[in-house]
């Protein structure tokens, strides 16, 4: 177990390093100077040079990278161009809403996805299978933010069951926090669940068609036991992979649906910094989400190793 974790970390850490280099070099891809973007139409060559010096943009790239990376290791991501606040603080303030939403979404996606996948995968070709699998096709085609709009209209505006503006910090009131998360989680989770359901179904069908099911059935092990004890565990490997992919997709989607649910998450921060070309903030958000994705994939890889003995390091 410890060996497995170390082995996987050996993959994840270099990945993080390269990601940070890519994120750092983003500013160099901008045509023109970020200083010009900050100053807008009032920019003069002198004022641009002044701002560049102020932000340290005039120093050579390697020097800036070392400084930036050193700060990164201490949790310092620099200062936002516009607000002048530390990027780390701004991110920390927005992270809870985004993480809550993704947590809820993953929960819905896994419960719905694995549930539907197992139900359809164990009875391929039946009416139940066709109806539910048809549903997953819809689930993948529906734009999440539109689904969110429809859900708020129906459940918040028309039925009045849930508040329209949902975010309440957990520390303030856990119950209201959970209540506010219901609609965003459903929105995020239904499409993610559709992806997981399709994977689970395919994996179940494949797993249950393997010869070992015949061996066990021929030895007298009951079908339900083969199904749930052997079939599901065998199917879990591709399902875990689908969950990893879903997580990455969900972060992106959460950025979009934040707007629908007026959630104060990373998405709206990203939006304003993209429009304002506030690169320290853009870098911060990208680095943070990439780190989250890599971390979750690390967990999933470890999960792989736990399920599938062959994926463990020798």
């Amino acid at each position: 177990m410890g060996k497995l974790v170390l082995y996987r970390l050996g993959f994840a850490l270099p990945q993080l390093l390269v990601v940070s280099v890519i994120v750092f070099s983003l500013t160099y891809l901008v045509p023109g100077s970020p200083a010009a973007a900050i100053l807008g139409i009032s920019a003069t060559p002198e004022s641009i040079a002044q701002v560049e010096a102020q932000l340290g943009l005039d120093r050579p790239a390697p020097e800036r990278f070392v400084e930036w990376f050193g700060g990164l290791l201490h949790g310092d991501l620099g200062t936002a161009y516009r607000s002048g606040l530390p990027v780390t603080d701004m991110l920390a303030q927005r992270l809870p809403a985004t993480l809550s939403m993704i947590f809820g979404g993953l929960l819905v996606a896994i419960v719905v996805g694995v549930g539907v996948g197992v139900i359809t995968g164990t009875r391929p070709g039946t009416t139940t299978d066709r109806v539910l699998t048809g549903g997953t096709v819809f689930g993948i085609a529906i734009p999440e933010f539109w689904l969110g709009m429809i859900l708020t209209t129906v459940f918040a505006a028309w039925l009045g069951w849930l508040p329209i503006v949902g975010w309440v910090p957990f520390s303030e009131n856990p119950l209201l926090w959970a209540r506010g998360l219901i609609l965003p989680s459903l929105t995020l989770g239904l499409t993610g669940g559709a992806i997981i359901a399709r994977q689970t179904r395919a994996a179940m069908v494949k797993s249950l068609a393997s010869p070992y099911t015949d061996t066990l059935a021929a030895a007298g092990v009951p079908r339900w036991k083969i199904l749930y004890r052997y079939g599901v565990k065998n199917a879990m490997v591709p399902v875990l992979a689908a969950t990893g992919v879903t997580f990455a997709i969900m972060i992106g989607v959460s950025f979009v649906i934040e707007k629908v649910f007026s959630f104060p998450g990373l998405g709206s921060l990203m939006l304003t910094s993209v429009i304002g070309q506030d690169f320290p903030l853009v870098q911060g958000v990208v680095l943070l989400t990439a780190t989250l994705v890599i971390a979750v994939n690390l967990l999933i890889d470890i999960g792989y190793g736990l399920i599938n003995p062959q994926a463990r390091p020798a």
Binding site: L208, L216, A248, K259, I275, N297
Partner: protein
């Protein structure tokens, strides 16, 4: 040594066999109603987009300030937005934007991804390792984040949006192209092209690209749908297209601003997106099905539902049997070399089966016929009217080519026939109990307890993610109601009995840690857990090397002695039959030709097919220049012929 080989590859690659050319795929496509509907929908959207100026009642920038945010009226069937734009016209013009951006971005994604994947897949080595790392890295960024960053750097605009979305999907194309190129590269014809002196580039573009066309079409269709979703999301966030360009996402942004007082505004653009994305996704699925040859007719679904069972591992064998059956029908009845019909098939069988039945038959098969119901309603006979008995302590060999129906016969005894295959008539009795027609519960009382079975592929026979102990303990607990600890002790005993050393220690190991022979011993132990009266070996030693094969057969013979069980050994290998069986039954095209004790059969075969089979078997003491081959022995009217 073997009549024909039944490799695991034959059973695992039915899809490859069915992969179809474009013409065949198109023919299949026409029989998929859902795909046709998707094609029509896409065509309709394209027509709407192209003829938008003609179809739309208003220009996209026409404003009607006296009528803002109106509901549906005669002048504006879908109402107007907050600037008095006609919603229907906006919707129609937005279809242009959606198709332009989606088409453009998929083109960009292919332009980046396809060459990238081709290079990685073809060059291999360091190119591949480095490139694959780049693709893994791209996975760390949620797709839309790449879009955000590109827009942050380059700003807003149609071309920037197309580039951003294209970049998001480019790695997906790269990954797919790499995988396919890698597979194609390994194929023989690329190697032979090398030999014939074609240059690398010619090989890639001349031979690999046509093979990519199908999968690329599938991916392109699916990503067209995805691109529309991403475009809508970015436009919804006001990061996509400029505000004056009508887009479904932009319309939804307006709708979101007026969600409380005008909730229905969200419907038209949302439905437009869903329909378009759905059409592209279904088109992709449809092309995929058509290319891979997946049949999903109503009848096929019905058949599998009726079967309502899990096992489908031997469909390839059914297919083989069907091909054989077809081949049998196609044998011309008139031949120049004037074959001599010896007798009708029924008479032959009656004459040649020496029913020297064992004094105490434990398993009797009487007149069993097995048929496969094909999706198109045709009923294909797999096994016809076979009768056999196996006595206590006897080893009966069931010998035949692949497709002769021998495995189907074994599966019918166990009630484990794959979906769509059934026992049509006849009876199977085990110690007096009828087995045919039992339901799942009834069969379970028999399986393991009275009948054990070991299948061919040693590794696939065991669940790869469970320990060997786990898989032994389950049947033990089922049969003997043992506690976990007691079952584990007994499992160790069983493993020890089948000759696995350090049995107790190996219980916690996984199947991949066992060699083929050892894994097969484990499978035997699982089959013996319920102390069965009859053990069926279904090509159980075919995948093993000769030495291991002998060892496993010796083990079975020893176990037969010590446990007094009967053994049915199904094989295509004459050597295995000679080495392990008391009596041998010859099966050909689903018919039983001859049953005889092993010495008489090898010394003095009754049936011409048996004789030919033996003649085709090379032995050390008989040197031949060329092995005789077996021609088809059956005429169109089911008569046996001798040449």
């Amino acid at each position: 040594m073997t009549v024909s080989t039944v490799g695991p590859a034959a059973a695992t690659t039915p899809a490859a066999k069915q992969a179809a050319g474009p013409r065949q795929a198109w023919r299949r496509l026409r029989h998929q109603p859902l795909t046709l509907a998707a094609i029509l929908t896409v065509a309709l959207i394209v027509v709407i987009a192209v003829f938008a100026p003609v179809l739309a009642p208003y220009a996209p920038d026409d404003t009607d300030f006296s009528n803002v945010l109106s509901g549906p009226t005669a002048a504006h069937p879908l109402g107007t937005d907050d600037l008095g734009h006609d919603v229907l016209s906006q919707l129609i013009f937005a279809a242009r934007t959606a198709l332009l951006v989606a088409g453009g971005s998929v083109l960009v994604a292919m332009l980046i991804g396809v060459p990238f994947g081709l290079i990685l897949g073809y060059k291999g080595g360091w190119y591949d390792r480095l490139g694959s790392r780049v693709m893994d890295l791209a996975d760390a960024f949620p797709g839309i984040m790449i879009g955000f960053v590109v827009i942050a750097i380059l700003g807003r605009g149609v071309w920037i949006l197309i580039f951003a979305i294209g970049l998001i999907f480019s790695m997906n194309f790269g990954r797919m192209v790499r995988a396919i190129t890698l597979a194609e590269r390994k194929k023989l014809y690329v190697e032979s092209a090398h030999v014939s002196g074609l240059r690398n580039r010619q090989i890639i573009f001349g031979q690999v690209l046509p093979n990519l066309a199908g999968p690329l079409a599938v991916q392109a269709a699916v990503f067209l749908g995805n691109a529309i979703k991403v475009e809508a999301a970015l436009s919804f966030l006001a990061l996509g297209l400029p505000d004056d360009q009508p887009s479904w996402g932009g319309m939804l942004r307006t709708a979101a601003e007026h969600q409380v007082d005008h909730p229905l505004m969200a419907l038209p653009p949302g439905i437009a997106i869903v329909v378009t994305v759905l059409a592209f996704n279904l088109l992709g699925d449809g092309i995929n099905d058509a290319l891979s040859g997946a049949r999903s007719t109503r009848k096929a679904r019905k058949a599998s539902r009726k079967a309502a069972r899990l096992a489908a591992s031997t469909l390839a064998e059914v297919e083989q049997a069907r091909l054989d059956a077809e081949a049998r029908e196609q044998v011309p009845s008139t031949r120049d070399d004037a074959p001599v019909p010896v007798a009708s098939s029924v008479a032959t069988r009656e004459a040649l089966v020496t029913t020297a039945a064992h004094p105490e038959p434990v398993l009797s098969v009487r007149g069993v016929s097995i048929v496969a119901d094909r999706p198109d309603g045709e009923v294909v006979p797999l096994v016809s009217d076979v009768s056999l008995t196996v006595g206590r302590g006897e080893v009966l060999g069931l010998l035949g080519e692949s497709g002769s129906g021998k495995s189907m016969l074994a599966k019918s005894i166990l009630g484990l026939l794959p979906p769509g295959v059934r026992v049509d008539s006849g009876s199977v009795t085990l110690a007096g109990d009828e087995l045919v027609g039992r339901d799942e519960r009834g069969m379970r009382a028999i399986r393991g307890k009275k009948l054990g079975v070991v299948f061919q592929n040693p590794q696939a026979n065991l669940s790869p993610v469970h320990t060997v102990g786990h898989q032994l303990v389950d049947p033990l607990r089922v049969h003997h109601g043992m506690s976990k600890a007691a079952a584990r002790d007994r499992a160790a005993e069983l493993l020890d009995m089948v000759g696995v050393k350090d049995a107790a220690g190996r219980l916690s190991q996984y199947p991949y840690q066992f060699s083929g022979g050892m894994a097969q011993r484990v499978a035997i132990a699982i089959a013996l857990a319920g102390e069965p009266d009859v053990l069926i070996l279904d090509e159980a030693t075919s995948a093993l090397d000769v030495t291991t094969q002998s060892q496993v057969l010796d083990l079975v013979l020893d176990l037969r002695e010590s446990l007094g069980m009967a053994v049915v050994n199904i094989t295509h290998d004459l050597g295995v039959a000679a080495e392990s069986c008391d009596r041998v039954a010859i099966l050909y095209h689903g018919e039983l030709l001859e049953v005889n004790d092993v010495f008489s059969l090898f010394e003095n075969p009754h049936h011409p097919y048996t004789a030919a089979l033996l003649a085709a078997h090379p032995t050390a003491d008989r040197e031949v220049d060329r092995l005789p081959t077996l021609a088809d022995f059956v005429t169109a009217d089911g008569e046996w012929i001798v040449r």
